[in-house]
């Protein structure tokens, strides 16, 4: 792997950048692997990386039907935080956040993780109660969290309309200073490059079309580039989780919905922290390029379409103009959607399945970007040991049978 550093950049710059090599090989699929990961999104690539790095499993392929990183990792609003309510979630997201804090160095790839703070604002008495409950839980779980008054919110983001006369006034907020954003594409590329360097085959334009089993055990995958045998298979395909699971005859408690986002034209810096309001469905931050990135709510119907319903954008932008009156004259540049895999309890599934050797990592829905490192880490452990790590034990598929759901609707809000 070519080392990325400033001296290297300058040295190669003097030679016209002619001798950089591909960040990852364009691997041809081999007939057989110890572990095959389906889906080269953030979670799949991170899983492959940690398998090779921490568990010495390097005979690994990551199969991607399109171009690497073109799924939700490439279309999310990039918010990273760990202030979840229930213990199980708090632990895995906080574990992930700690990994984020050293990720650029770990991967030798600047993922531009920017801890500029994350502000959740509340608009009703009940919401403030819920926020206080969450901050309390976070603190006892060792996660940094503060409860803010309206005045403190306003000091942090002066352009926010905190007047008591708006339709849904800001009654206060919570702040996680270690929260922030990362450069989403770089995460996929960084993991791909690092995994590739450890010998992982990343196979793009290779769609999995079938899963073969024998005696209750997964044996191989049918793909558009031939059959590939696998000792173990990890399905990490986000919005397409149900589609892949159904190839193995498994039904999941997941529904896929479009989730939309948009960016504005670039502006000179106007505010730093990420601002989220679940009551009025707004989450917004300004990127290093200067655009405002905004997330919207999910479309109600199940759909795999990547456009989304414009009415959702109308609602979100009305709320944005209420909260940030100066943004009314800023313009929307581009709007898109991704297909998110939503679980009934707004928590993921990182689990074995009734089929031996077949594992699932899905259900991250509207908020799995922030979990990318942690999710890959525990899933690698799960695949390597064929049993879950304590961090992902609560996120098993059978919680839907026992009823031990981890209902994060409040903390997950609508998204991110």
């Amino acid at each position: 792997m070519q080392f990325y550093s400033l001296p290297n950049l300058i040295r190669r710059g003097l030679r016209g950048h002619r001798d950089w090599t591909p960040a990852w090989r364009k691997a041809e699929p081999k007939p057989s692997y110890d572990v095959v990961i389906v889906g080269a999104g953030g979670h799949g690539l991170a899983t492959a990386y940690y398998l090779a790095k921490l568990h010495g499993v390097t005979n690994v392929a990551v199969l991607e039907r399109g171009w690497l990183g073109g799924g939700n990792i490439g279309r999310n609003t990039a918010i990273v935080r760990s202030n979840y309510l229930w213990d199980a979630s708090a632990h895995i997201y906080e574990f992930s956040l700690k990994l984020w804090e050293g990720l650029s160095q770990e991967l030798n790839y600047n993922v531009m993780f920017s801890q500029r703070g994350l502000l959740n604002i509340g608009h009703s008495e009940q919401e403030m109660r819920d926020l206080a409950r969450r901050v309390g839980a976070n603190q006892l779980n060792g996660i940094d969290a503060e409860l803010l008054s309206t005045h403190e919110v306003s000091k942090l983001v002066p352009i926010l309309n905190t007047s008591p006369h708006t339709r849904y006034p800001v009654l206060g907020g919570t702040l996680q200073r270690r929260g922030g954003v990362a450069r989403h594409d770089a995460v996929a590329w960084g993991y791909a490059r690092a995994a590739d360097a450890l010998g992982v085959d990343i196979v793009e334009n290779c769609e999995v079309t079938g899963i073969r089993t024998a005696n209750g055990r997964v044996t191989s995958l049918e793909t558009t580039r031939g059959e590939i045998r696998a000792g173990a298979v990890g399905l990490v395909v986000a919005g397409n989780a149900s589609v892949l699971a159904s190839m193995a005859g498994i039904r999941l408690p997941i529904q896929s919905h479009p989730l939309q986002a948009l960016v504005t034209e670039p502006l000179k810096p106007v505010f730093d922290p990420v601002v989220m309001s679940s009551a009025v469905h707004v989450y917004i931050h300004q990127t290093d390029r200067g655009e405002l990135v905004l997330g919207a709510g999910i479309d109600a119907p199940v759909s795999y379409d990547l456009n989304g319903n414009f009415r959702i954008i109308e609602h979100v932008l009305a709320a944005v103009c209420e909260l940030f009156p100066i943004f009314s004259r800023v313009r929307m540049l581009r709007q898109w959607a991704g297909t998110v895999d939503v679980c009934p309890d707004a928590s993921p599934i990182i689990s074995g399945t009734p089929i031996k050797g077949l594992f699932m990592n899905c259900g991250w829905g509207t908020g799995g970007f922030k979990a990318t490192p942690g999710s890959g880490w525990v899933f690698a452990h799960t695949l390597a040991h064929q049993e879950p790590h304590p961090l992902n034990e609560p996120f098993s598929l059978d919680r839907f049978t026992t009823g031990a759901l981890i209902d994060e609707h409040g903390a997950a809000a609508v998204a991110h």
Binding site: W20, Y109, K268, R331
Partner: protein, 994 residues
């Protein structure tokens, strides 16, 4: 004349209406009809901005929405508009125009130092560096952030007004150039409902800037006549200044109309905008084509323009954009520009044509003018610093052909159809080798016509437009039997374009050649991207930021497809383009929000007593869309004091509460009882008419969904109360069961939430007050016992009175028709005066019910709470099935250590626990610290003279009396408490039975 580059005649400007605006403070003379760009060019201003990354000087490139450089800031203060394109902004008097991306000034930009570092900061450099030392990243980032961005956001709320309109039509025509106008005419004459939208202030598109003729008239005149004719037709709506920015499924087309753009008193170009949501039956797409730039070194120098734009400035604005021109082309269209320049007396020093043998009519005419034409030749480099000074030519095989002095270099690499809308909708497009670009395929309800199809000549545009308009109308079901004749224009035979993507050999490798001028993406950046394995066009885009600027790569993307194909040695069709997305041109957030802001942000729902509450000085609380009375402070009273006073009034005398927001559903039919049995956990069939019962409703997962009292009005009718927030969800839930599962049950549901207002009269004196207000209902305890209801009149108004209680006191909930509720409220209040009646709000209601240990759905419960958890297991019928029942026997639902509702009493009776505070067995500094549960409700109870709290605590019910601690958000403060039974006041319930 102050406009040295303005021609003395011609153009579509109003010379009799001169005006002045400023650019960076400098006065600019213009005429009405000018754009900011045309006026700047007329005044000889060629430097309009600095590039995004390297801060290189940049000039105007185009005459339309595709410009990558002409971003400016308009106006100031609250009315400022960042990042507007000078090329589409009408010049208006007094307009303040400023550059956006240079410091301290446009001419002297310190940030252009980035340009010097360019060799070391190629595409994606930040991924490879700025990682050490780790803690410096915030500093690096601060610097990056301040270098990035373009314009400035306004500094105060937007004073403008925006709007939405829904529209329906048979045929929507997008683009009012030759093709669009012809299509609109053809569609309109069938009687179809037609809407025509064009981004520009004037209809006509390319017609306004060509010297060609249509039906014998000069093209602009024909455009005017066609527009006038359309505007007089009924059922035709013409929308100039209107961009179609999105095309969605169901053929929803979104248009953004800029309003009042021509009014002089507007400091900005827009004083508002309107978004049209159009649902057309058929769509004619006549959006034209964008000219494609060409690659050569320093191809971003001010003075390098699209050839077609040069013609537009000459013909439409009577502006020459330079004094000596060179043209560089691979097709015939630049020859028309040559002829236009000659007509405008601008010398054309040379034409470099990639083709070896251009044999069309236009090249012949140009040659006849004596203009030197180099065939098989290209421009390899532009010279000059702040502005173009010369063009260096060479032959296709690299042999130098000399350097030609010029201050204007017109380039034309062919035309790429403006198929953005088509592509957004996912309609098919194919690579058309004739034009070396993607062109739309007609789909069943989208009809492309004109230059967007790749047919670039005027006669074809008119023909195709006419055919498309007629076909679209017919497909929409409108036809009058005859197809109109297409307007006529001279056929101009042209010779083929020769695709040209990469400069020959290794020419000019040391100087940047910009593929995306806005994003400063160079040919070398593309090479680097491919070299590093970012080969998919989507990877190239994301790695280099190609096409990600505010122009969305309208010029860059069609060029990049060819360049990448050639670099990879692949077919351009397989390379594709980055996915097209809305918005075609950016749309302000305010316009998309429309009028759903301020007063009209969201309905404010109020009860009939709202005026009364307001005049009583009430503080209100938002509960969903409802505005509810929260508490009624006396002058000088704090919330705490007011609530304490209200609580005691209810406990000792009598209080009155507006509880009108509760949901109310009439459940009617022979199977009503059976239905309730299925949806509630307890039994209903045997409830006697006239009696009430409290019910719990569960989700399928067994978790509490809603609760409330239901009364049996008569044999076949029940009245169900739901919580305020769940009024609509409960009705929808019930209807779903009835309509989709239990279709054999004969039950009708009718919402009467708004018909009946609900006034709660609570407290030991409530019976007396009700009597004093006047009622024909016998009130004696035996006549009207607890948990029954009576119909009669109260204060002369027909009423349903329920003897139910959410406070634990003797209480009546009086339902009266909402149109007389205010009267009844006042009558009760007047009657209550002598009893010390006190209005109370939601806060007091919450305290009173907490003293009684009554839960509030959504406060004690959070979607993970079963009836057993809150101690309501007795309401679970064993004898019948009900929704959610099966879920209650799942392993997790019967876990002994589930969180259960308990009361908490603090050691310090004055200490009110924080709501949301967590309960632990033992305080400590260890993290994570195991939590047993959390406080759901917490108040100071005035009647008990101490604090009380409800909490959900794991295994709490089995260990009542245990010592617990509640965490505060202050690390060192732990509040000791003991758990207790959650009913704090009148545990026997004696008071409500009196």
């Amino acid at each position: 004349m102050s406009q040295p580059f303005r021609l003395t005649q011609g153009g579509r400007i109003h010379r009799d209406e001169p005006l002045q605006f400023t650019f960076d403070g400098r006065p600019i003379d213009a005429f009405r009809g000018d754009t900011v760009a045309s006026a700047l060019l007329a005044n000889g201003v060629t430097l309009v901005g600095r590039s995004f990354k390297y801060h290189r000087p940049r000039g105007i490139v185009s005459a339309g929405a595709e410009d990558p450089n002409a971003f400016v800031q308009l106006g100031r203060g609250a009315r400022t508009l960042p990042n507007r394109l000078a090329t589409v902004t009408p010049a208006t008097p007094g307009l303040e125009v400023r550059h956006v991306n240079a410091w301290p000034s446009l001419d002297f930009d310190l940030m252009s130092a980035f340009g010097l570092a360019a060799p070391f900061i190629p595409a994606g450099f930040y991924y490879k560096t700025l990682m050490w030392p780790r803690r410096f990243w915030p500093l690096y980032e601060h610097f990056l952030r301040h270098a990035a961005g373009l314009g400035h956001a306004p500094d105060a709320p937007d004073p403008d007004r925006y709007d939405h309109v829904h529209a329906h039509c048979d045929v929507l025509v997008v683009g009012a150039g030759a093709a669009g106008l012809a299509a609109a005419r053809a569609a309109a004459q069938t009687g179809a409902r037609v809407i025509v939208a064009d981004e520009q202030a004037k209809f006509g598109g390319g017609l306004l800037s060509t010297s060609e003729r249509v039906d014998g008239l000069p093209a602009p005149q024909w455009a005017d006549a066609a527009t006038a004719q359309l505007s007089s037709a009924s059922d035709v709506t013409l929308l100039p200044n209107t961009t179609a920015f999105g095309l969605y499924e169901s053929n929803l087309v979104l248009l953004a109309e800029r309003l009042h753009t021509d009014q002089p008193d507007n400091a900005g170009a827009e004083s508002g905008a309107r978004v049209w949501r159009v649902l057309p039956r058929q769509i004619v797409l006549a959006t034209g084509a964008h000219e494609r730039p060409l690659l050569f070194a320093n191809n971003d120098r001010p003075g390098v323009m699209l050839a077609g734009a040069i013609s537009t400035y000459v013909n439409r604005y009577a502006v020459v954009t330079g004094s000596r021109a060179v043209l560089f082309t691979n097709n015939d269209s630049a020859y028309r520009t040559a002829l236009d320049l000659v007509e405008a007396e601008v010398p054309v020093a040379a034409i470099a044509d990639v083709r070896v043998d251009p044999d069309g009519i236009l090249p012949a005419q140009t040659r006849a003018q004596g203009i030197p034409i180099h065939t098989g030749a290209v421009v390899v480099q532009a010279h000059g610093r702040g502005r173009l000074a010369a063009a260096e030519l060479c032959s296709l095989d690299g042999a130098p052909l000399g350097t030609v002095e010029c201050d204007l270099l017109g380039v034309s690499g062919g035309f790429a159809p403006a198929l953005h809308l088509h592509a957004q909708a996912g309609a098919p497009m194919t690579w058309n080798p004739q034009i070396a670009a993607f062109a739309p395929q007609p789909s069943h309800d989208i009809h492309p016509a004109g230059a967007v199809t790749g047919q670039l000549d005027l006669a074809s545009a008119l023909r195709q437009g006419t055919a498309a308009g007629a076909a679209a109308a017919a497909a929409a079901g409108c036809s009058n039997g005859h197809t109109p004749a297409a307007p006529q224009a001279a056929e101009t035979p042209t010779s083929d374009l020769k695709p040209y993507w990469l400069p020959p050999g290794d020419l000019a490798r040391t100087k940047p050649q910009f593929v995306d001028v806005h994003e400063d993406v160079t040919l070398d950046d593309l090479r680097l991207s491919l070299r590093e394995g970012f080969e998919s066009i989507e990877h190239v885009k994301r790695y280099t930021t190609l096409g990600m600027g505010p122009d969305q790569g309208k010029l860059a993307n069609p060029l990049a497809t060819g360049v990448i194909a050639e670099l990879l040695g692949r077919d351009p069709a397989s390379v594709g383009t980055p996915r097209h997305r809305p918005a075609y041109s950016p749309v302000s957030l305010g316009a998309i929000a429309g009028r759903h802001i301020g007063e009209l942000a969201d309905p404010v729902r109020v009860t009939p007593m709202q005026d009364w509450h307001e005049s009583a000085g009430t503080r209100f609380e938002n509960v969903g869309q409802w505005r509810r009375a929260w508490y009624y402070p006396h002058p000088g009273e704090s919330m705490h004091e007011a609530v304490a006073r209200e609580c005691l009034a209810v406990r000792h005398r009598v209080g009155i509460l507006d509880y009108s927001t509760l949901g109310k559903i009439e459940v009617t039919g022979p199977d009503a009882g059976e239905f309730l049995d299925r949806v509630y956990t307890n039994a209903w069939k045997r409830l006697r008419p006239g009696r009430c019962r409290y019910g719990l409703m569960l989700g399928k997962d067994g978790m509490i969904f809603d609760d409330g009292v239901t009364a049996r009005l008569d044999h076949q009718r029940y009245l169900m109360f739901t919580s305020t927030a769940n009024a609509a969800p409960v009705l929808a839930w019930l209807e779903q069961w009835l309509q989709t599962e239990w279709t054999d049950l004969r039950v009708y549901l009718t919402s009467v939430s708004e018909h009946w207002s609900n006034i709660a009269l609570a407290g030991p004196r409530s019976r007396e007050v009700l009597a004093a207000a006047g009622t024909d209902i016998p009130l004696a305890r035996e006549d009207f016992p607890f948990m029954t209801f009576r119909e009669g009149t109260v204060a002369g108004v027909p009423a349903r009175v329920f003897r139910i209680s959410f406070s634990g006191e003797l209480s009546y909930e009086i339902n009266v028709p909402a149109d007389r509720a205010r009267h009844v409220w006042e009558a009760l209040f007047d009657a209550g005066r002598s009893f010390g009646i006190t209005p109370y709000g939601t806060e007091t209601m919450h305290v009173l019910r907490a003293e009684k240990g009554f839960i509030i759905v959504g406060q004690e419960t959070d979607g993970s709470v079963t009836p057993e958890d809150v101690g309501l297991g007795r309401l679970l019928s064993r004898r019948k099935d009900f929704l959610g029942k099966r879920s209650l026997s799942r392993p997790d639902s019967v876990r002994p250590d589930r969180k259960q509702l308990v009361g908490l009493l603090t050691d310090d009776p004055a200490q009110v626990l924080p709501e949301g505070g967590h309960v632990v067995d033992a305080p400590g500094r260890r993290r994570p610290l195991p939590m047993r549960g959390h406080v759901t409700s917490s108040y100071f109870s005035p009647v008990l003279g101490r604090s009380i709290a409800l909490a959900m605590v794991a295994g709490g019910r089995a260990a009542l009396g245990e010592r617990l601690y509640v965490a505060t958000l202050d690390d060192d403060r732990w509040l000791p408490a003991r758990s207790c039974h959650p009913v704090f006041y009148d545990p026997q319930g004696a008071r409500q039975h009196v």
